[in-house]
């Protein structure tokens, strides 16, 4: 059963390589190939998650390996579904790099199956954790959209055109990508926090106890809330939105990893 996960990683690496070749050489065939390999890897990944579920007997999002793998899985399918409705030139190149990096982290984390601590034995676990990780997946896409925006804008502002000008889409479509990612990511983030809070009430008797993970997820939430608020009231779009979504995703990543490794707290079992 253990063969599925390495195969998935291999698939993602392959997809990323083909995407990068496409990005540099711009030959159409390679783009189709990259997308099919990515889709295949996404299917393998799904099978691997199911296998892991059957192996451990609960939704596999309880340790670092599982959480990051689920994060990457959400991003793959988030991207593929997104792409089906809404296309952004060469977005796949950046997203595939992100997925591969996540899978590298997942591959390096311990895959050992440990019995679930009593606190986590709840129906809220799959709900809360999967929503929070899916939120991260969309925020990550917003992050890559922001990076693409800044790369493209730098070339346009400086009037020196390198490899990005032709290959990246217009600033306008990168900006609306940002908006779309947020439109999905932010409600999921909110829902993740709410479900976590409800679960905390059940498990520990209070909705909110300023655990570092809670605090940091709230900080993340505020960053994105501010971005959305100013976007609509003061026209904080484009460059500022791009920077904010990069900063916001930094906070989201810190909530996911930084807190676990540096600050501890009740969520620290997730490591």
């Amino acid at each position: 059963m253990d063969v599925l996960f390495p195969l998935t990683v291999l698939g993602y690496v392959l997809a990323t390589i083909i995407y990068l070749v496409w990005f540099i050489k711009q030959q159409k065939d390679s783009r189709f190939a990259a997308r099919w390999v990515l889709t295949a890897a996404g299917i393998l990944h799904t099978l691997s998650l199911i296998a892991r579920y059957l192996e451990v007997g609960h939704t596999p999002i309880t340790n670092m390996h599982e959480a990051v793998s689920f994060f990457a899985w959400s991003m793959t399918w988030g991207f593929l579904i997104f792409r089906w409705r809404y296309r952004v030139k060469n977005f796949g190149v950046f997203v595939s790099v992100g997925i591969t990096l996540l899978m590298a982290v997942a591959a390096m984390s311990s895959r050992e199956v440990v019995p679930l601590p009593p606190a986590l034995r709840s129906h809220w676990l799959p709900v809360h954790a999967s929503i929070a990780l899916m939120a991260n997946a969309f925020l990550a896409m917003g992050f890559f959209g922001g990076i693409m925006y800044l790369l493209q804008e730098r070339e346009i502002k400086s009037r020196r055109f390198g490899i990005f000008f032709e290959r990246l889409p217009s600033l306008e479509s990168l900006d609306s990508l940002n908006q779309h990612c947020l439109a999905v990511g932010f409600p999921l983030l909110t829902l993740g926090i709410i479900t976590g809070s409800v679960w905390a009430k059940q498990a520990w008797g209070s909705y909110w106890q300023w655990d570092p993970k809670e605090t940091w997820s709230l900080i993340t939430w505020f960053i994105y809330a501010a971005l959305l608020h100013f976007r609509f009231t003061m026209g904080w779009r484009r460059r500022r939105a791009a920077i904010m979504s990069i900063v916001g995703f930094g906070a989201a990543l810190f909530t996911l990893w930084g807190v676990t490794f540096l600050l501890g707290g009740v969520h620290s079992y997730a490591g």
Partner: protein, 427 residues
């Protein structure tokens, strides 16, 4: 008995600032002034070309100096400028220089944006108008038509046109990269100019939602706005209007900056930071370079746009040099024709041609009749030359006969055609 001299009196963006060009009595759109110019003493033929960046009066005249002076006065009538100023802000090209100048203009070597394609169409239109008003005759017909073929030759043999077209293409590409779809975007033209209009046309072809024209004189803005189906505002209304446009193309030719960073900064807030793409085509610049520092404002001047176009500078220079060589070569050829449009050289050429025919025919005859006495040979030679002299006597007398200058040119043209259908044989 010299035939008419070609001369061009003109004003362009190089010699006169826009304030002066605007004062010219005959701005584009007004009644064609050729009839008035043709009435000037000495002026035999004339054609008037007026565009945003230039005015050219092309004449042939029997007394170039007086005609040139009168044409200048005519152009600047009512401008209130002194004679010295008129002299300073206009140029006069005579003879070969005039030929060279018009060829350069037609080939778009004299344009603000070298290689921009509109000037040839404008010249053709000017010629057609003059032809309709019957102010052009044999000399200008040939001269101006020649300039079209020179322009065509330059266009086919060099790559000079690609850079201007690709500059406005680059502007469109950039606009799309910055603003996405142009379908709901509005363009503003500040001032007018060949290149600005070309860029605007490209943008309109991409389906922009609307065009606003701002100009120092509202009348001209209205005229241009009508052409683009847009609205007109005066230059004072510029900042206000900036709130509602997404692309601004500026080419006013004002000496100072028209739009400063601090003018635009508050507007960006009103625009809710919707991006603004500014294109500065003017030389000297219209738009404050610091505008590019503002968030969501993208400023490109003409050099930046040129850099976007992959053709590098030395390549463009090479094309321009090549085009200039073609123009010089064609000027030389035309000069030969022009010199011939004079009685004496025409007579000389007729004689030369006749003599060469005589010599070759006599030689051929003598080579067939080998046993002739020297006396007989002499008789044949005399026969041949007297035939030729008698044949030429009347045409030459006809040419030397005094007549009014226009008839003179027609006569020359006709005689030259009768004797040599292909002009170079004659020369």
């Amino acid at each position: 008995m010299l035939a008419d001299t070609l001369l061009i009196v003109g004003v362009n963006h190089k010699v006169a600032p826009v304030e002066v060009r605007e004062k010219l009595a005959h701005n584009a759109g007004c009644e064609n002034p050729v009839v008035g110019i043709k009435a000037i003493p000495g002026c035999r033929e004339c054609c008037f070309l007026g565009t945003c960046n230039r005015v050219e009066v092309i004449c042939s005249s029997s007394s170039p100096e007086t005609t040139a002076h009168a044409v200048r006065q005519h152009l600047f009538a009512g401008s209130g400028l002194s004679d010295e100023e008129i002299e300073r802000y206009s140029y006069l090209h005579v003879g070969g220089e005039a030929v060279h100048h018009l060829f350069r203009v037609a080939a778009s070597l004299d344009s603000m944006i070298v290689g921009e394609p509109q000037i040839l169409g404008q010249l053709k239109k000017a010629y057609r108008a003059a032809a309709e008003l019957q102010t052009v005759g044999p000399v200008l017909n040939r001269f101006i038509n020649k300039s079209f073929s020179v322009a065509k030759r330059v266009r086919t043999e060099t790559n000079i046109g690609s850079s201007a077209v690709s500059i406005s293409y680059a502007a469109v590409q950039l606009a799309k990269k910055i603003l996405g779809s142009l379908a709901d975007k509005r363009v503003m033209l500040v001032g007018a100019g060949e290149m600005a209009e070309l860029a605007a046309e490209h943008l309109i072809a991409q389906g922009v939602a609307g065009v606003v024209v701002a100009n120092r004189t509202l009348e001209r803005a209205i005229g241009l706005a009508q052409r683009f189906n847009g609205t007109a505002v005066s230059l004072e209304g510029l900042a206000e209007e900036l709130e509602n446009v997404d692309i601004l193309i500026s080419s006013t030719g004002a000496t100072g900056l028209v739009l400063m960073r601090d003018d635009v900064k508050p507007i960006m807030r009103q625009r809710m930071n919707r991006p603004l793409f500014l294109i500065d085509i003017a030389v000297p610049r219209d738009l404050d370079p610091k505008l590019n520092d503002l968030d969501n404002v993208y400023l490109y001047d003409i050099d930046n746009l040129k850099d976007v176009v992959e053709v590098n500078k030395s390549e463009r220079q090479k094309e321009a040099d090549h085009a200039s060589r073609i123009v010089v070569e064609e000027t030389g050829k035309f000069q030969l024709w022009l010199d011939g449009m004079d009685v004496t050289p025409t007579i000389v050429a007729m004689r030369q041609k006749a003599d060469s025919i005589r010599l070759s025919e006599v030689e051929r005859t003598l080579s067939q009749l080998k046993d002739l006495s020297p006396k007989q040979v002499k008789a044949i030679e005399v026969l041949a030359s007297s035939l030729i002299n008698k044949m030429l006597h009347h045409p030459i007398a006809f040419l030397k006969e005094k007549s009014e200058a226009e008839g003179q040119t027609r006569k020359l043209e006709m005689v030259r055609r009768v004797f040599a259908p292909q002009p170079h044989f004659f020369l």
